[in-house]
Every structure is written in structure tokens, then in C-alpha cells.
């Protein structure tokens, strides 16, 4: 442990010349990966817009039927968790590993809250029969295209929830490393990358929320 209270950074991989170059590579790799994630969701959004033009009425009806309160609460949770992640990044960058740990755990807790609320919403849908494709048996949507809306709804929010779970695991992993005081002003790329991933999860929701709940 160094005098400042953090562990020595792990040795530089043999094929890098400088630590800056290594950090830049990690960061750049993460940004590229986030690019692929954006394109993954882009396909869903294309599907959403196509079917919305086919079935504007049922999309409107189904959208109104989603719980605006729960959706907004979830948006609030995710946005706040993004803030705590950003603060954790800032703390880790300055070697304040303990602060970073608590902030990351707070984010994980908010992620868990998000998932619980999502589960409540899903349960309600299952009881109503507001389900995709052949399982659809929801009487309140009269216009055609209801089953398709719920394919889009469940597929997009399900894929997003999967990303929330992956993001929570990543945050937990870097949080344990914070607990062990591994990060320092010269080495904090894992916190930064996990944070970037969490911001992406947040960003996707920022697009899903208005499209599904508000429009």
C-alpha cells in the first residue's frame, strides 16, 4: 500500500509502453462497445417506429395503459443512480475508494429498486393478459396491433432489464475493488468503464421511457 492509502496499480501489460496508453486503450474499447450496444437497441427502435406507423391507435391506447407513475419513478431512480456513479468515478479518480464504494453500492441499490418496480409492472401485465403475440388477451385495447405493442414493450424493456442486471454486476465488481482500495489517480479505468456502461443503460431508458410511456 502506498503512502496515500491506495494499492499499487496492477503491473502494466507487457505490450503497452505507458500507463496512459493502456488507459486510453481501455477507454476507447469501452466506447466502441457502447457503440455496438446503441446499435443493438437501434434495431428495436426501428421496429417501434415501423409498428407505430402501422398501428398508431393501439400504440396510443397501450401507452396510456402503462403506469406513468411507476415509469416516472423508475426514470428518477435510474437518473439518480447515474449521478451517484458519476460521483463514484470522481472519487475513485482522486483515490477516495471508500466514498466511491458507498456511492457505487447506492447505485446498485437503485438498480435493484428499478428491477423491483419493473417486476411489479410485469406482474400486472401478466394478470391482465397484456402479453405479446399469441398470449395476448387484453380486452382494453380495442384497436388492432395490441399484441405487437407488447412484443415491442416486453422485448425492449426485457433486453434493457438484462442490461441493468449486467450493469449491477459490473458495479458490484468495481465496488468490491474500491473496498480493497485498488484505485488511484493513475489507475481508475475499471470504475470509469463500469460507469460508462451504467450511463448507457440509463441512456437507453431515457429513450424507452418517453416512447413507451409518454407519446
Amino acid at each position: 500500500m502506498t503512502a496515500e492509502g491506495w494499492l499499487e496499480p496492477p503491473p502494466l501489460p507487457h505490450h503497452y509502453e505507458t500507463i496512459e496508453n493502456h488507459q486510453a486503450a481501455l477507454r476507447f474499447g469501452m466506447w466502441l462497445f457502447l457503440g455496438t450496444e446503441v446499435l443493438l437497441f437501434a434495431g428495436i427502435f426501428v421496429g417501434y417506429f415501423v409498428f407505430r406507423t402501422y398501428f398508431p391507435e393501439s400504440f396510443e391506447q397501450a401507452g396510456r395503459h402503462l403506469s406513468l407513475f411507476l415509469g416516472t419513478l423508475n426514470t428518477f431512480l435510474l437518473l439518480t443512480s447515474s449521478l451517484t456513479v458519476a460521483l463514484a468515478h470522481h472519487n475513485a479518480e482522486h483515490g477516495k475508494n471508500r466514498n466511491a464504494f458507498w456511492l457505487l453500492m447506492a447505485s446498485v441499490a437503485m438498480g435493484a429498486g428499478f428491477l423491483c418496480i419493473k417486476a411489479i409492472e410485469y406482474t400486472e401485465k401478466f394478470h391482465e393478459g397484456a402479453l405479446p403475440g399469441k398470449f395476448f388477451s387484453f380486452s382494453e385495447i380495442t384497436a388492432p396491433g395490441g399484441p405487437v405493442f407488447y412484443v415491442v414493450y416486453f422485448f425492449s424493456t426485457g433486453l434493457h432489464a438484462l442490461h441493468v442486471i449486467v450493469g449491477m454486476s459490473l458495479l458490484t465488481w468495481v465496488a468490491t475493488r474500491c473496498w480493497r482500495k485498488e484505485f488511484s489517480p493513475t489507475y481508475y479505468a475499471p470504475v470509469e468503464n463500469a460507469g460508462l456502461y451504467w450511463h448507457l443503460v440509463d441512456l437507453v431508458w431515457i429513450f424507452l421511457y418517453p416512447l413507451l410511456y409518454l407519446v
Binding site: S137, F138, S139
Partner: protein, 343 residues
């Protein structure tokens, strides 16, 4: 020249106006392709011969392209490509815009057969009769997966998509028989999903269609096997009407007005958005209509009782299809024409 090129390239005979346009462009494109591939190949061989390695450690001068070379390398191919594009696009626009006077034929693909229906005439399986020298528009759909209508001799092809209609058209030029092939992979019998276009001289065609309309009633008994590749002479809708009468469908379903009776009216029923008793909404397509005959109580229309008997086993597949065709022909805008014949 045309004949020589056509045979060299193994192209089928040219039996539509479109075939000539396509083939002329084809010759142009393929000639340039051959000449340029050959030119590239020969240049490479010539360079190889001239600049073969004469001794180990041979040095070579540094050569870079001039600006003129770069400009030519881009503009010459681009010029040819754009010319082809312009001609090809003009022809494609022509192919996508059927003339208003074109005769309509409905084409339906299903695994694995083609069905052709003339709006006011007979239906047929596998064989499409068309007049020569008159534009014919095909309105194409599919009942299950994607198929594609392809008449090589006409150089015409269009996908048959379930749930929507696509269109294409042609003017056949030579009386004769031409093969129809399915070109979108559709399952085990894809390679056997063949049909035939019979192009007739216009007068002969007019005779034929009159004959068909006259002979509808008398020939219904030969319609039994829908799956045969034999020409179906006569209207399926007409036959469907007879089946419906025989089964007593009209006791509960109106066919001459949209008034509901014990059951919903059949007029305008096809493709109608229908609300069911359990709240779902469906479109009354072929699948639903068939299901309603075979398992009537699965999807009961809102406002009606579950009283309809089950026709599973009472109706053969072709009979059910005929009734569906009959229902499809019942449209309030032209009910009378479509059902044409006598009771």
C-alpha cells in the same frame, strides 16, 4: 444478333414486351463486363510476361499513379454504371407502373401451388390464361409464407407476401405455354411449385373466358381435387355458394345484405376488423374464416351466441376453401357481379 446473344447466354425465349428491354440492357452490360474482365486479365498477363523477374534482388522503380489516372479510374466505371442504372431504373419504373387499362388477375401462392382468380370469371389452380398483346396486371399475395412468381420467358418476377398485395404486370407477345416458377424458398416442395401461363390470341381468350363463365355450373363436379395440378375450370366462389346452400349456411348468415342474423352477415366480412366476445380483435382473413367453420366456438364474434355447429369432418378442405372464396366475393359494392350464375 439478338437471337445469337440470347442463345449464347442461355436466356429463355422473349415472350413479353418487357423481355426485349431487359435483354437489350443485359447484352450491353454483359458485353462490357466480358470486355473489361478480359482487358484486366490480359493486361495482367501482358505485364507478367513483360515484367517477369529476371534475377534475384532485382530492383524496381517507384511508380505512382498520376492524377489523370485516378480521375479516369473513378470516372470511367462510374460513367458506365450510371448509364446502366439510368436505363435499368427507367425500365423498372415502367414495370412498377401497370397501365390503367390492364386486365387484373389475382394470384395467390400457398404451399405449394399457385391459384389464379379473375375478378369476374373463373378461378384456376396452376394455370394462368392470359390474352396476348394486352397488358395483364397480377395482384399477388400469399396465404402462408413468402413465395415469388417468376415467369422466365417474360423476365418478370414479384414476391408473394402474406398479409399484403404486391403487383406487377406484363404484356405477353407470343401465344404459347410458359413455365411459372416459385423463386422464394418456401419449404419442402419449393422446387415443385410450378405453374403455367397459357398465352392465347386475344380473340381466343375472349372466347375462352365466355366459355368458362357459361360452363361454370355444369362443370362444378370436376372441381373436387383442389390439390391437383389440373386446370380448374370454373369459379371457386360459385362452387362455394353451392356448398354453402347445401350445408344450410344461409339459414344463419345473410349473403345479400349486411344485416346480422343468427350469425354475422357474410357481406364485406372478408378482411373486416372484427371484435370477438373475449375482447380480442381479429381480421377476418382466410385463416379465421376457415377456423370458424372447423372450430366455430374458439373465436366467437362479440354479440353472438355460441350456437354454430362444428363443420370439422363435414366439409373437405377444398369445400372450405371454396366457401372462403365465396365469402371473399361478397362485397357490397359488387355482390351481384361476383356471384354471377344461377342458384
Amino acid at each position: 444478333m439478338n437471337e445469337l446473344m440470347r442463345r449464347l447466354l442461355f436466356l429463355p425465349e422473349q415472350a413479353s414486351t418487357f423481355a426485349h428491354d431487359v435483354d437489350n440492357l443485359h447484352y450491353f452490360v454483359i458485353t462490357v463486363t466480358m470486355v473489361s474482365s478480359l482487358a484486366v486479365g490480359l493486361t495482367a498477363i501482358a505485364f507478367f510476361w513483360k515484367y517477369r523477374r529476371r534475377h534475384e534482388n532485382q530492383a524496381t522503380p517507384f511508380v505512382a499513379p498520376t492524377a489523370l489516372f485516378e480521375v479516369l479510374a473513378i470516372s470511367v466505371p462510374l460513367f458506365f454504371f450510371l448509364v446502366w442504372f439510368a436505363i435499368g431504373f427507367r425500365d423498372f419504373v415502367k414495370l412498377s407502373s401497370p397501365p390503367p387499362e390492364a386486365m387484373d388477375v389475382y394470384v395467390q401462392g400457398k404451399q405449394w401451388m399457385w391459384k389464379f382468380a379473375y375478378p369476374e370469371g373463373p378461378n384456376s389452380i396452376g394455370v394462368l390464361h392470359v390474352p396476348a398483346n394486352r397488358p395483364v396486371r397480377l395482384l399477388i399475395t400469399s396465404r402462408d409464407v413468402i413465395h415469388s412468381v417468376f415467369v422466365p420467358a417474360f423476365r418478370v418476377k414479384m414476391d408473394a407476401l402474406p398479409g399484403r398485395y404486391t403487383e406487377t404486370w406484363f404484356t405477353a407477345t407470343k401465344p404459347g405455354r410458359y413455365q411459372i416458377l416459385c423463386t422464394e424458398y418456401c419449404g419442402a416442395q419449393h422446387s415443385k411449385m410450378w405453374g403455367e401461363v397459357v398465352v392465347m390470341a386475344p380473340e381466343v381468350f375472349d372466347e375462352w373466358i365466355k366459355e368458362q363463365q357459361r360452363g361454370l355450373v355444369t362443370r362444378q363436379d370436376v372441381l373436387a381435387d383442389e390439390t391437383s395440378q389440373v386446370t380448374q375450370q370454373g369459379s371457386l366462389a360459385q362452387w362455394g355458394k353451392h356448398v354453402a346452400v347445401a350445408q344450410g349456411c344461409m339459414r344463419c348468415h345473410n349473403v345479400d345484405s349486411r344485416e346480422p342474423a343468427t350469425g354475422p352477415s357474410w357481406v364485406d366480412l372478408y378482411q373486416q376488423h372484427t371484435k370477438l366476445a373475449d375482447g380480442r380483435e381479429i381480421i377476418a382473413d382466410e385463416a379465421y374464416l376457415t377456423e370458424s367453420m372447423m372450430e366455430p366456438n374458439v373465436k366467437v364474434v362479440a354479440g353472438y351466441q355460441e350456437v354454430m355447429p362444428n363443420y370439422q369432418g363435414k366439409l373437405s378442405g377444398p369445400e372450405a376453401a371454396a366457401i372462403v372464396e365465396f365469402i371473399k366475393s361478397l362485397r357490397s359494392d359488387r355482390t351481384v357481379q361476383a356471384v354471377g350464375g344461377e342458384e
